[in-house]
Point group: C2
Chain length 153, copies 2
Amino acid sequence: MSDVNEAGPGDATGLTSTVVFRLGTLGTVVTDRFARELEGLGLKPKHVGLMAALSHAAVASQQELAARMNVAPSLMVSLADHLEGLGAVRRVRDPQDRRRQVLTLTAQGRGLLDRCTSMARALDEEIVAGLTAKQRKALDEALRVMANHAGLP
Amino acid sequence: MSDVNEAGPGDATGLTSTVVFRLGTLGTVVTDRFARELEGLGLKPKHVGLMAALSHAAVASQQELAARMNVAPSLMVSLADHLEGLGAVRRVRDPQDRRRQVLTLTAQGRGLLDRCTSMARALDEEIVAGLTAKQRKALDEALRVMANHAGLP
DNA sequence: TATTGTTATACTCTATAACTATA
DNA sequence: TATAGTTATAGAGTATAACAATA
């Protein structure tokens, strides 16, 4: 009887062949790579995530956004501070409830997000370089379904 | 003319539909989830990654393993310390070169890795719950190709 | 009193640099 | 002198807790 842990690379049954392991490792290298490219814009992946969230939900309070992104409210403050400093978002007090800071993406912010999206698309090409058109489509669909299943945007 | 950033959720052209964004976000939530399950075993994902690396390359020095896992040698020390404390790995000085610490996975370590692999497989089921058998197969293949392309195990 | 945002603080992870021993 | 491993230190990232303003 063969020991599952004696398998070599390309291993069909070991830990490294699980979706958990592969999504985890690929996610890390891909995000690190994206982060390096973003450095030139003075941004980190979380800043881009916030801009993307704002582009979907036109306006939102910091608390709402923090909840949606699964980060602490205190972190949302520094993300918003940074983007406000770049002129990418505007903070306005909600007149109905002056405790709330409502964030909106500025035209400049949209432009910045567009540039980040272009960078991500270029990176996508590298990542899926070894896949056929059919496989890329299948991957896109699978990722979309899994993200949706996990409550992600 | 429509603005690409005005798209709503389910967005086909925005940042959130890129492979970069989806692999990144899914990777994070999946790894966090795995990490929570590992807590009961006193392990973190990196410890499991080291055991998996050892199960593939029967024996290896700490430096070799650090290079393979893309971590600093100093981090390898603490990972090995922890696993040695659990009886999962054995450290032996290479008699040929007494500077080298050669790590090997013990029988107990193999058992522990098996348990982690089972946990990962169970998690896999949840992650791909929304996919058909055909889609799961396509996903597996795509992940395998991309990991290989990125130089990952 | 409860809630939003902010600030202060601490914790986790990991890398870099200094050090020890072997070569 | 150079290298493997270790230890000491420092930085990034993020959360928790204390605080201020508003409800």
